[in-house]
Symmetry: C2
Subunit: 205 residues, 2 copies
């Protein structure tokens, strides 16, 4: 035991908290002292929630989003438009798009993007299952909604080639352009150029 | 269930993390997704460490520091000077003083400072037990090591009066003055004034 700590239990709890990303030893200590002031039941329910999630986590067998059931709530919702599939890198992206309330189709969660630097190959991602899903029919549009980075663009292009044999499906990509409330003079030239090329008819809203 | 989350288990885990101080929902989500990538055993040992601490935590019956045993390692260490007792507000203060490696006596953890604003009265703190401990004999010096705030000063004065009947014990307080590496011109006048009044003989180090 580190002589700084008067309790091995305390030290172990601090060690465990400090393993979490973005949490150093000072913050870990603060969190541990906070848990000491909580009721025993509150601490137990915190731990149970985390253990339950880790032990019982499932991924939807259709879209690979995190789910409590074999097929997730989105995929099994008859009110969602099953002919549109939005391809995203991870589950936070699903939440970001759902938060816009502008999308009513389904998703396909890749589990990342192709990144040779990080050793992530196409086979590590849910790309084959996407192709199977599209080839099974019923999908009219696949929206590529990946980050506008080198890796995102590479992944977009890879999927584009993988789906090229299927001429029934329309492949679209998220619009790139100025953000809402951006000042034109401070917009970078790549973005501004893309905004010009992809200009759309003005409809008054 | 909030429609933003595709899993109630996920939502509950995020809710629990977000209850911790200084952790918002975005950070909570990041921590939860991190735990999902960990081995089941790693998550279990994280939770066990926290639950073990909360269930088995003890406070030393002499100094009230957190401890794994009835009397803590510091109080039961014969190499520590039992005639000096350093009064601190909480266990982080013990760790801060231990880290200086300049103190070899024992501690007395009050559990806070007197603060009418926060509803903390002297009876909420381990002040009576301090007086008993000093009156039991064997203590030659009590060092008041509280923060130099209004509440700390109030608590110091309260303890001073409580121990006034015992003329055998020397009561000292931490030196207040310029911090190491402070620029004189930027030191506040209260601190600079105290530094002047409490000037000490120059010994060359």
């Amino acid at each position: 035991m580190n002589q700084q700590y008067s309790s091995a239990l305390l030290e172990r709890a601090v060690d465990e908290f400090a393993k979490l990303p973005g949490i150093g030893r000072k913050t870990a200590m603060r969190l541990v002292l906070h848990t000491l002031r909580l009721e025993v039941g509150t601490v137990d329910s915190f731990c149970h929630a985390i253990q339950n999630l880790r032990h019982e986590v499932q991924y939807c067998k259709v879209c690979h989003n995190i789910s409590d059931t074999e097929v997730c709530q989105l995929c099994s919702n008859p009110q969602r438009d099953a002919s549109t599939v939005c391809v995203v890198a991870n589950i936070q992206d699903v939440m970001a798009i759902e938060a816009t309330m502008q999308y009513h189709g389904l998703y396909h969660v890749l589990g990342g993007v192709i990144s040779p630097m990080d050793g992530i190959a196409p086979s590590d991602l849910e790309i084959d299952s996407l192709v199977e899903r599209v080839d099974a029919g019923g999908v009219k549009e696949v929206i590529l909604a990946l980050s506008s980075t080198m890796e995102g663009d590479t992944t977009n292009f890879f999927i584009y080639r993988k789906l090229a044999h299927n001429t029934d499906v329309k492949l679209t990509v998220l619009a790139r352009g100025m953000s809402i409330n951006d000042e034109l003079q401070y917009t970078d030239e790549m973005t501004l150029g893309r905004s010009l090329i992809n200009r759309v008819p003005f409809t008054g809203n």
